[in-house]
Amino acid sequence: MRQTTFDPISLEIHWRRLVSMVDEASAAFVRTSFSTLVREANDFAVLLTDPQGRSIAQSSASIPSFIGTLPATVKHLTAKFPVHTLQPGDVMITNDPWMGAGHIHDVSTVTPIFHRRKLVAFAGVVSHMPDIGGRIRNAGNREIFEEGLQIPRLMLMRAGEPDAALIGMIERNVRVPDQTLGDIFAQVAAGRMLEERLRPLLDDVDLDALSAEIRRRSEAGMRKAIRAVPDGVYHGHSEHDGFEEPIHIRCAVTVKGDRLSIDYTGSSAQVPRAVNVVPIYAFAYSAYAVKAVLCHEIPNNEGSFVPITTSAPLGSIFNPRYPAASGGRSMVGQLSVPAIMMALSKVLPERVIAEGASNSSITLTGMDRGRRFAAVNFMNAGQGAAQHRDGYTMLSFPSNLSNTPIEIFEQSAPVRVVDRSIRRGSGGAGRYRGGDGLHFEIEAVGDSPMMASMIMTRYRSAPLGLFGGEPGKPGGLFLNGKAIDPAEHWMLKTGDRVVMQTAGGGGFGRRRTKRRRK
């Protein structure tokens, strides 16, 4: 007989089982992935949903950008391919930014799971592809058409048979077809693994009843945490470097009883550059900020996030119209985190941190000694201070991206890292100092010129301090000593030197007159 009611003990046991299955599938996926972003930055998620697309368990290692995105993808896909038409061996696919995870580089696949010939769940996987065609990812791209191949809602496989036409299309439109297709089929394998692992559990318990109980408990936990925050409307803001002019992020956080809503009205309008943030992505980082500040122990599933809503008017940078480009959506979207922290600092000063900077990167492509290469190097920055401690020097936040080892970078592209050191003194002063950013200097040493595309964060807009703490130093980008624009693609000749500096974090509290010894 299958279990349909759960006490605080059996629920804990079955829930852990579910999470460990999802984590196992996600570990196998990460190890086989060709995408640097999947491996070094956990830029992927594996999810189990019920037949309605409500999430039951999500991989623990995934970065915050996927909170709530895959359940929405499942719902969009089943709207096109109704549940009763699906059969074992089917796999659905899309990379529509509005239905997926916010830019076309993230491809999602969803596999129906059957038990005793009944569809009982979906396994969903989304991940950043090694390549999706188009121009190299850069904030300067102006429309989605430049960014690469768009995959609408389609069937990747029917009853176990891959769609040859679709695969042929993908193959022709990306730079490294074996790697992109390798990752898409690794997603399918992860979905299958999840189905296999789930089977014994399905014999023991009623998954619908279990998932309802998980959602109920998680939702109650989040509501309890919100109720502890005083009711009110709290305002916060942040700023992105922008292009011709800065992009403003403004949020109003409304706490009312056990509900919390965040409205981005007043933020800049969408821009013809690749930094627009679709609503689902705005929600993901907003929900992350709320969870990190209020209750970081609460599990990752749909129930936890029911009491949280986000909104922005159509045409806003947080709710752009098609065909807005969004390849660099994280640059603006992640700024919702410090904006929300600033808003909540008025009532929860001991829980928040001052602004820091998210990651920057440089992508190099070209030919060297007769062979094509493509290499990406990630750089983190200084983070903001808190009420009782200095900010972290050189740590990834709010995403979670490892740096690229010098030795690996030099193996994969004809460059020499001249200097990779802490940019001492770049953190903002204050009662507690912001963390320091990075000084990164490379020299091109290949036998022919190569193309460089940089993503820079906080090179104009300094990360702000809180409660009188001073801002951190903004970053900088230089080619042979001259400041250059990261929205352009640059050609590097042998001997050219690029310096990338990342920002320091903001300080917390007014600096005391006597210098505090570290």
Binding site: P8, I9, L11, E12, I13, W15, R16, R17, S20, E24, A28, V30, R31, T32, S33, F34, R39, V176, P177, Q179, F185, A186, A189, R192, M193, R197, R217, A220, G221, K224, A225, Y288, A292, C295, H296, E297, V352, I353, N380, A386, T393, M394, L395, S396, F397, L401, S402, N403, P405, I406, E407, E410, Q411, R416, D419, R420, S421, I422, L438, V445
Partner: protein
Amino acid sequence: MRIAVDIGGTFTDGIAVVSPGDRIWVGKTLTTPHAPGEAVTTVTADLLRQVAAARATRPEVDEVVHGTTLVTNTLIERKGARTGLIVTKGARDVLAMGREWRYDMYDLNLEIPRALVPDERIIEVEERLDARGGVVQRLEAAAIRRMLDKLAALQVEAVAVCLLHAYVNDAHERQIEAAIRKRFPQLAISVSSGVAREIREYERMSTSVCNAYVQPLTADYLGNLGERVRELAPRAKLRIMLSSGGFTSGQAAAENPVLLLESGPAGGVLSALNAARNNGIHEVLAFDMGGTTAKACVAVGGEPLIAHSFECSRVSRFKRGSGLPVLIPSIDLIEIGAGGGSIAHINDLGLLNVGPESSGAVPGPACYGLGGTDATVTDADLALGYLNAENFLGGTMALRTDLADAALGRLAKKLKMSVPSVAWGIVGIVNGNMTAAARVHIAEKGHDPRNFTMVATGGAGPLHAVDVARNLRIPRVLAPIAAGAGSCLGLLAAPARVDRSWSSPALVSETDWPAVARSVATLREDAEAELASAGARQTGLKWFIGAEMRYAGQGHNVSVTLPATKITAAFAPQLVREFERRYKQLYGSLVPGAHPQVMTWRLTGRSDIVNRRFQWGDQRAGGASSARGRRSIYLPLEKKFRAVPVHDRYSLKRGTRIAGPLILEERESTLVVAVDARVNVLDDHSVLIEIREFE
């Protein structure tokens, strides 16, 4: 005669084995943290007395094999040497920056592990190699002089050297090493290309620094130990157990002490495998559970899997990434739980949780009566009847059932449940957690648990093994003898072993095979010398070539191991076949059109593994009547308490066959069989439990 001594946190255990016959004597004394050698002397002297009394002569000791947690503890407590670090110009902050990711994504205030060498003790030196090992900037004599002057001012006791791309060309590191040895002959020195010749500067640097940091202390300790051993047994050679599951000479261990990090736990696994081999069991999940930790390890074909990176000195025990990385070969053990001391509590969502907090030895579980008030796994075991309050540690420590019930009662009240259901809840959850972690571990290695036998060791291992095995659908559990001193038996069953590695990333199709062959030959010569110093005979040696492989473009490796053979281009298809076999086993299918690549090569040499059929030296086995009566225990499948037979384990004769549910008691542990099962006492006094449900 050979002697094994293992220094643990609380006890120092020793076993003497006399051949032929592999008869064993066991000794135990409290660990002496201020001077660990003292406990070694005490135990060794005690063992010599026992053997002499039994045989009326004083037998000669040939070898003392030693396992220790000294290196681990030095790193955890940060009590190592004042250490300096020499790096390539431009790379001075590699250690401070680490890999820059957060081991907990949602904790805004996580603690970052502090580097072992602070900024002011890092010296940059002007030199540079490229990724192929070519010299971009020469290391000039003047640069070496400046470096030495700075080093002189630092007043360090140890120094690590880690230069960029030294995994492919070690010339500059060796030049610096020679210069330092000449000017500061007393300084401990650790060179990255010697300690961990692998790509990725942070991990290699961290390994070299950890090694330097523990070198002076370990050298003193091993020197002192050598003297003590010579006093008691003048002809005995000192051998040291490594994390890899082999032993080496005292001298080699003193040079690379970082290889000793997991020396104790490795012994536990080897002991489990020895018992498995004796009974013809080839697919094993070694399960070891003690008071503060539970570990699991997969071993197929009698040999444990080896992992090549490890993390020590974590600031958050169960969080990967919160420690210092070290690139050393170690038996691939995973920590699956916090052991019998794990504390039960109610979380934010109103659910019962167990661990990761542990009550430790003091105050310990509530039932110890030492002031602990939190309900732990041990308290639950007692309330369920699995532990005997009067016979804990052979009756030397009485357990307080009333205190256990009171602690459980507090949780029961909050959860509005009965005490027995909360007690079973705690055991069910902790077993469930260990099951989940072990299941993932087995699956990650590409195996099916239904073919496995679990081998249970540690004080709490036999208590929980059968239920965890049942959850994993593992049909058989083997409980070897002397669970309490298990790692010593492992030390005695271990082979001599040497591992060497070097990173040389290249596609298989473009590999320079003569260069690989040359590297193998050089390293083999060096490895042979070390094996000889560890007493291994040339003729009985086994050699293996390993490769860390992937499809070009991926970031994770699949480990491939083949018996050593002549390396020519003809080796390529063999290597690719083995890679594809492993890849399929792990991930289901290959990647069409992708190119196999080798990142790191490995060479392993070890002496032959000999099965040891250990028997009690004293006549404790096979005594009088075994039945000790009956006790009421909780049977999870029936969801109720029932009286079951209790036996004295070592009174059961070989070949005994009885049926579970039942309890077997021994001095240091209790074997709980709470389901229908066949229980067989085997020839070596191991007990095999076959769960009926899976027949």
